[in-house]
């Protein structure tokens, strides 16, 4: 049985085009897409009514709190949230309790994910045992067990020798390492970005330079080892020239940023609102605009949700003590559409950063509307307005900074390998 989408605004991140047309799916794969697509017999037809059809989002860096804190987010709740948000592949973080740092834990996680989540789940494994920066994990076994990358999350490996060996070993296996560019000495204890706002509020703050210092260190080790590297979040203007030089020098480096750093700035914290506490902290408006520009030019390759569930108890604390992070699987697309509606980016550009580039970086065939690619798709109305109510979220944790905000863009349906995993009622 095949499936034909007609009358769709096809968002093609590979060719950077938006055309009205159709898309044909057979056996879970895209077989044809374009203005004129012929339907074979016995085809189910979905009339998209002129709405947008794009490759499903590939979200690198989703925190699902299994094992350890299932009350914050389980594979089931995260999977439902992802489906409702148009995310067809969650690339999950290893910063759980305990960390996902051995093949047995990774296999447990994969099994849980396959049972419970309706979308694709690809795990990142820890780079060092216990994420404590001393000994590398079993990269080989973990790759065999399905790890797609290695990262210690926001724990920065401070010992350069340990990191250089991990990079060297990872390079020999062709494994992708995801780093968190941040100087841990400067950023220790920080809850905000240093500057006028943090000074007024009396919050411990980190200079934006700490990000560049972390990135410079990692780039030196990339040059030394030849490792395949992705920076999880670049959020400051000062880090961009270093990134640009590294790319120009031909190093195997890509960079991401989080949706929150693209759509919010430090002033949003206002009166110590802890739902706006993320890691790294929100930056200045100048930084935000520079990062948007870098996404547009392609210097920053990937936009992630950096989905980090936190329960009420972790957030209802004085700002310094409150846990960092925000849920974002369901708000990633509408928040990214703010950048489209504001005229910063095109639809094809946001899907290049949210689907095509992350898929390419991980070597996945998805993230595009080409024949042969899996039919991981999101159908959405880019203009439909709504007011976000955090209690409507499917995530177990409701810590979104967008609560009560007017947004535009509703997901109408999400498909994984041609099967609907979400349909708006």
């Amino acid at each position: 049985m095949s499936l034909l989408f007609t009358n769709a605004r096809l968002i093609d991140p590979e060719n950077q085009t938006e055309v009205l047309g159709g898309l044909l799916v057979e056996d879970g794969l895209i077989v044809d897409a374009g203005p004129d697509v012929a339907a074979p017999a016995r085809t189910e037809v979905i009339d998209c009514g002129g709405k947008c059809l794009a490759p499903g989002i590939v979200d690198i860096g989703v925190k699902v709190c299994e094992p350890g804190e299932r009350h914050k987010e389980s594979y089931k709740s995260a999977g439902l949230a992802a489906a409702a948000g148009g995310v067809t592949t969650m690339v999950t973080r290893p910063d759980t309790t305990p960390a996902i740092d051995n093949p047995e834990t990774l296999e447990f996680v994969t099994r849980r994910a396959n049972e419970a989540a309706p979308v694709n789940v690809m795990p990142i494994a820890a780079l060092t045992k216990g994420r404590d920066g001393r000994e590398m994990t079993e990269f080989g076994f973990l790759l065999d067990a399905g790890a797609v990358a290695f990262s210690d999350g926001d724990n920065v490996v401070t010992d350069h020798k340990v990191l250089s060996r991990a990079f060297t070993y990872a390079r020999s296996l062709g494994a992708l390492v995801i780093g968190h560019p941040q100087d841990p000495g400067l950023s220790k204890g920080a809850a905000a970005t240093s500057g006028k706002f943090a000074s007024l509020r009396g919050l411990p703050a980190v200079s934006p330079m700490a990000e560049r210092m972390g990135l410079d260190r990692d780039i030196a080790l990339i040059e030394m080892t030849g490792v395949k590297y992705h920076a999880d979040q670049i959020t400051t203007a000062r880090a961009l020239p270093a990134l640009q030089r590294a790319k120009k020098n031909g190093f195997d480096i890509t960079a991401g940023t989080s949706i929150h750093h693209l759509t919010l700035n430090e002033l949003d914290v206002a009166n110590y609102r802890t739902f706006f506490k993320v890691k790294p902290p929100l930056r200045s408006e100048d930084d935000r605009l520079a990062i948007i520009e870098a996404v547009k030019t392609g210097l920053i390759d990937i936009i992630s949700s950096m989905h980090t569930p936190q329960d009420e108890e972790s957030k209802r604390l004085p700002f310094e003590e409150a846990a960092a992070g925000a849920v974002a699987l369901e708000t990633l697309l509408p928040a990214a559409l703010q950048l489209v509606h504001a005229g910063h980016l095109s639809l094809a550009e946001i899907f290049r950063a949210m689907a095509l580039n992350p898929a390419k970086r991980l070597g996945l065939p998805s993230g595009r509307l080409m024949p042969g690619a899996p039919a991981d798709l999101v159908l959405f109305d880019a203009d439909a307005p709504f007011v976000l109510n955090r209690y409507d979220l499917k995530s177990k944790s409701k810590n979104t900074p967008f609560d009560g905000q007017k947004m535009q863009g509703k997901v109408l349906a999400t498909f994984v390998a041609g099967k609907a995993v979400y349909r708006r009622d």
Binding site: S194, K196, S199, L203, P204, Y272, E313, P318, E320
Partner: protein
């Protein structure tokens, strides 16, 4: 005019509200100098002092202020109690709220903690210092001291000196003095200056001689040694040499410049002991006296607003 429900910071106050409060505090200074120091302004109201951080002076000042106005005052040493048992700030607030306090005086080591607490209770909350954020009653008592010594609280040159970065006193003071149209200078080593503080309409100096030139008021800050991660300054003795206030450095200020310090002092670190005791220059003891009066005024005004708000509410039967 005084429309506030809480006193969380100087940031929220209108200049006219500051004047109202200081005028009332002047009256309480007179009351406090009489033999019978008592008023009934807070009669029937319950005041709870919650100090999550050690304090002798501020807590005593609030306690005396409440008692002189006839409130039932209770002190809770929070650092010793439930916080150690893992109770969250919100839970503590809810528990206290159930006891129907009317005035809650709170000091907390984290910036913004008092704001958070104020959102969860039904009484007037006074910030007695939150982290590195604000310490509004200190700024108000400093303002009253200046106004009484100088005869006005505008068009003065005020130098705030020392550890600005860790000081909530400095933040509240620079906001208040700015609102009342004074020129504020911050003087201290760059390692103890908050980032981009020059954008707050103040002048920043790294040298005491330049910073104190022709000022009317010299406000010294305690070198918050207990807050230091270590390594902000090379040594105490070098700090005293370069930034400690002594007669020699004070000579750069106007001849009639007054010397202030929020206490407790580190004699021989940020201020010369003899100068601190010089009754012709130092108003440090007056600051303590004004502290009680200002806190009485603040609680009196908040209690009036609290009573007015309660009377406007329909009675539930």
């Amino acid at each position: 005019m005084f429309r506030q429900k809480h006193l969380l910071g100087i940031e929220h106050l209108h200049p006219q509200e500051i004047t109202t409060l200081l005028d009332l505090a002047d009256q309480y200074v007179d009351l406090n100098r009489q033999d019978v120091k008592h008023s009934e302004a807070l009669r029937g109201l319950t005041q709870i002092n919650m100090f999550f951080e050690n304090s002798t002076r501020t807590q005593a000042s609030f306690e005396i202020a409440g008692k002189r106005l006839g409130a039932d005052v209770m002190n809770m040493a929070m650092q010793a109690s439930s916080i150690k048992k893992g109770e969250t700030l919100i839970d503590t607030a809810m528990t206290l709220n159930a006891m129907h306090p009317d005035l809650l005086v709170v000091r907390h080591p984290h910036s913004g903690a008092v704001d958070l607490l104020a959102q969860k209770v039904n009484c007037a909350v006074l910030n007695a210092g939150d982290g590195k954020h604000e310490h509004p009653t200190q700024a108000l008592l400093d303002a009253l001291t200046i106004r009484r010594a100088k005869g006005r609280l505008h068009r003065l040159n005020v130098a705030i000196c020392g550890d600005i970065s860790h000081s909530r006193v400095a933040r509240s003071n620079l906001i208040l003095l700015g609102k009342m149209e004074n020129r504020v200078r911050l003087v201290g080593p760059p390692t103890l200056m908050p980032s981009q503080i020059d954008q707050f309409g103040v002048e920043v100096f790294e040298d005491m001689a330049e910073g104190l030139k022709d000022v009317d008021v010299v406000m010294m800050l305690r070198l918050q040694r207990e807050r230091m991660d270590g390594g902000f300054i090379p040594s105490e003795r070098e700090y005293y040499h370069r930034y400690g206030l002594d007669a020699e450095k004070l000579a750069y200020a106007k001849d009639d410049a007054i010397v202030m310090h929020p206490g407790p002092m580190n004699r021989g670190v940020e201020i010369d002991g003899e100068l601190a005791d010089d009754i012709n220059r130092s108003v440090i003891q007056e600051q303590v006296e004004m502290g009680v009066a200002v806190r009485m005024a603040a609680m009196d005004l908040l209690a009036r607003n609290l009573r007015a708000e309660r009377q406007n509410k329909p009675v539930e039967v």
